[in-house]
Subunit: 580 residues, 2 copies
């Protein structure tokens, strides 16, 4: 919901003031809205756009060279008045006439229409073009009654580029109309939005549901369904638009199209990219050539969660207008000199396989490697079992990614170990490869530290001979030292080290008494469990130097806790007589 | 919350694929992340950035000419691995060495550090710079332990521009370190975020509360307070940053600063502009010269609601690097030729006062104008009383702005009428000025239609003589005709016309029987009420041609309902003997 405002009644005016203050290079304020800061070019057609506030970058963010000459800025979700439109148009007009273009909503049609009448009475040549791209809002037979949504951008861009070329008003209008006739959008919504100062949402979508074709002010759409996957969303968007090709577009194979995947506000960039990945695939399969795609927030509705797809089916006339440079606050294109593409020599072979021949190993070490593999399978299983718990614990003081990272790491390590064992690797090599895989795939701090742990134990085991309990204990001691060095943490800092050091110490002591490895490991795992639990009781550290360590709320440290879980899981495989 | 994804475990990889597909002009994929699509410039320092996914445009969106040469892209909220960093650095490296720079988080420090060691072992000259701009995360004495947030952009931009100039690695590093040392950020949060596929939010902020300094992964901040106004938010942000000037910045007067007002995801553009308006004022009052401000989403955290302010205190060395051109997927600057500023001749006097001398009026008409003013006061009061109800009704089938628009319009009309009456205007002029004010300030469809209604009645009343009931009825009939013509609606379309036409008809009939105006108006108001109520029972129109009219859920049409409320309010002033 919209939460940051002063007087709600002043919201749109204050937003416009702030917008202008941040973008003086591009725009200057005039009564009713904004026009370009740059001097007017005598005789150039002025493209004047506009609409309600709450849709940024529509409409003020689209004023600049190669795009609009001015924008009339209405109140929140309300058309600008005819007087505003007239004032902006007069400030933008340079003797070449004015094209008024905007989304096709009743209020905008009225006010822009009245403004056109007034301007004509004052001797200004004016054309009016409401954009009608939203296929959800009327049937193809009544396409002229459709609402305008993100397709606004395609039409404005074509009009602005045509004006920039110095074309006369009739020609600018013809090209903009052609773009509008060949532009179609379809959108879906996951939530509504709350206007500044309102007590309740203007409209809503039930949680877990997807509204098809819901308008950007909550106007009725075409129905609802459960929230689909990102790929299914892409299929829905592309399927709907390919099912209604505009007149004059005969089939999709070889057709070129400008593509806009637009976020309405709260569907964020990475989600849009996941959806776009499939959109691009599907259009490619249909033979559509994508030209200068835009994936981002181009026409929003405050923090409404939703996404729309726009296709503007290009012609030889339209394409250069779509790809022409533009420089507006929220839309910049063709900046700097176009970079030279990377030369083939520069395109290195993708990740030359780093799989070298394995060091030689004997049967004893290969047998140990199989036990390592069994242990890593147990690690993976225990991490899977506790993944949510680890995330929750980590979220108390950290960033909550511990469970996810541990899962990625343990799976990758197990997979690499399985591959190594299949190729006849010894214990050291198996652990080395598992360590590298864990560190590489898990990311995060814990990934690096677990890489050190596995690698350190591996180095102590070697690739020949049956590993002794002393070698294992020595490897674990080395791991504890390595983690402290790399993580720059000591016992008491409320990190994995709090459990790892007691574990290594107990293991070393038990092995020194001559205990078998399984027994010694059992003792050490108990020490790790006790130490991990104790991290829950540590007082928060004073000061704010280590934000991940300062907030103790009765939960153990996630890293210490997962270490305890893992040592216990490994202990069970050591006790398991089946493995060997 | 993040809702559009496929397999959550594949989210970051799929997002990267989609990102690359949408931005082939700028980037190409390499194992571990992305590098510029452009050919490498031999000998140029490579600036390699990176971090977890979920923060777009950080980090992949910042790869391009004048900014980063490559980005290592980790999993969701997780550092890329050392191997990823190394792979990206090797693909970006062009013989001039590598600067690795990233936000100061433990995982990133580990992995970038390991990668640096590996690269050095391979003979590559490498420098490492963690960005430490977040003042909430450690004290000034331990500034080197602070987290990196939106200040990343300032540091990356300086480094990228310095590399583009061909400066050697030592110099690029020195300048980036200087930028980091002079950059401070402070952020506040209104909500947390939910990671793809997670059952619950990673972290939350209680509704109505503002978390001060909360980290972009939910790391602990400095406390909480109730949500402030936008201006208070600006004061909090600016006040905190001006309270800790970096070493070497002696006072703010005359200091030049790069300013970044960053939205975390769900605080949208207009809200940011409202906050920025006050930020710019406050910095101006402190004597700070703002250079190339950025207001938008530069470092996000999925749909976390929050905002941060970054100040990079410029020096003569840093400023040209901050303002230099850049061309990355999410950051473009200095595109096209800089526009000429508007000439003074082009800057028209702002809205030349449109207040002309008033037409002459006699005392009878001035008395009528006072009744008009009383009626408009009653209209304003009844609209204020019902404003939420009107919004709710409109939200059923329309965009929910009817109440807001009516309030703006009725207030503006009353104000204009009061001014006119004070200046001695007659009834027609008073209504004309009120009509223009309503249409101009209300915006939306209803604004235009109420402008027609008041204007039409005014024309019938004239500025001389006591208006007859017949003149009033004739003006109302003209209003009904004008609204039908302008709104292109007929009776039965479920619009204001459904109530206005019966009202006009009933008024005309009652006046024709010789009834006094107050009596006739009473009868007509009842007809309007009945007709407005009946709009609730109209069946939804078939087809999707008029989206605002199609959904009837037992509520009357908002426009018809407000007309009925207003005619009743006016009737009460006509019956009121006090007025005259």
């Amino acid at each position: 919901m919209t939460q940051l405002f002063n007087d709600p009644a002043a919201f749109a005016d204050e937003a416009l003031e702030g917008f202008v203050a941040a973008h003086r290079r591009w725009v200057r304020p005039v009564p009713g809205g904004v026009v370009r800061a740059a001097a007017r070019v005598p005789g150039q057609v002025a493209v004047v756009v506009g609409g309600g506030s709450g849709h940024y970058p529509a409409f003020s963010g689209l004023v600049g060279q190669g795009l609009a000459h001015g924008a009339a800025v209405g109140n929140v979700f309300a058309s600008p008045s005819a007087r505003q439109v007239r004032q902006v148009a007069k400030a933008a007009e340079a003797g070449g006439g004015v094209l008024l273009t905007f989304g096709n909503y009743a209020g905008d049609v009225l006010h822009f229409g009245q403004a056109a009448d007034q301007l004509r009475a004052e001797g200004v040549d004016v054309r009016v073009l409401p954009v009608t791209d939203d296929v959800s809002s009327a049937s193809p037979e009544e396409a002229h009654k459709r609402r305008g949504v993100a397709g606004d951008l395609a039409v404005f861009k074509v009009a602005g580029a045509a004006a920039e070329r110095g074309l006369p008003l009739d020609e600018v209008t013809r090209l903009a109309e052609l773009a509008n006739a060949r532009t179609r959008s379809f959108g879906v919504a996951l939530s509504g939005c709350t206007l500044p100062g309102a007590d309740e949402p203007l409209f809503t979508v039930d949680p877990g549901r997807l509204a098809l074709g819901l308008g950007i002010h909550g106007e009725p759409g075409m129905g609802e369904r459960d929230v689909p996957s990102a790929d299914e969303t892409a299929e829905l968007l592309v399927g709907t638009l390919l099912a209604e090709l505009p007149p004059g577009v005969d089939g999709t194979a070889g057709q070129r199209a400008a593509v806009i995947l637009n976020g309405l506000g709260a569907v964020k960039y990475e989600e849009l990219f996941v959806v776009y990945r499939r959109v691009a695939e599907l259009l490619g399969e249909a033979g559509v050539e994508i030209v200068d795609p835009e994936v981002g927030e181009l026409v929003t509705s405050f923090d409404m969660a939703g996404v729309s797809l726009t296709l503007c089916w290009l012609t030889d006339e339209l394409e250069p207008l779509w790809t022409a440079p533009a420089d507006a606050p929220a839309y910049r294109k063709g900046s700097v000199a176009a970079p030279a593409a990377a030369t083939p020599a520069d395109d290195e072979p993708a990740a030359a396989a780093e799989q070298d021949a394995l060091p030689a190993a004997d049967d004893d070490s290969r047998r140990a490697a199989r036990r390592v593999l069994a242990a890593l399978a147990a690690v993976r299983a225990t991490v899977d079992e506790h993944v949510d718990e680890l995330g929750r614990i980590d979220a108390v003081a950290g960033d909550g990614d511990h469970g996810i990272g541990m899962r990625r790491g343990s799976h990758a390590a197990h997979e690499a170990a399985a591959d190594a064992v299949a190729r006849g690797a010894g214990a050291a090599t198996t652990l080395d490869l598992a360590a590298a895989a864990w560190a590489d795939r898990a990311g995060g701090t814990s990934g690096a530290l677990w890489g050190v742990i596995l690698g350190s134990i591996g180095s102590a085991l070697g690739d020949t001979g049956r590993p002794t309990p002393e070698a294992v204990a020595s490897g674990v001691a080395g791991a504890a030292a390595g983690v402290q060095r790399l993580g720059k943490a000591e016992v008491g800092d409320k990190t994995m080290v709090d459990a790892l050091v007691p574990f290594a110490d107990a293991l070393g002591e038990a092995v020194a008494t001559g205990a078998p490895l399984a027994t010694a490991w059992d003792t050490a795992a108990s020490a790790a469990e006790a130490a991990a639990a104790a991290t829950a009781e540590l007082l928060p550290r004073m000061g704010r130097a280590r934000p991940h360590a300062e907030k103790s709320l009765g939960t153990p440290d996630a890293g210490a806790h997962s270490l305890a879980l893992i040592t216990r899981a490994v202990q069970r495989t050591l006790a398991d007589k089946e493995v060997d």
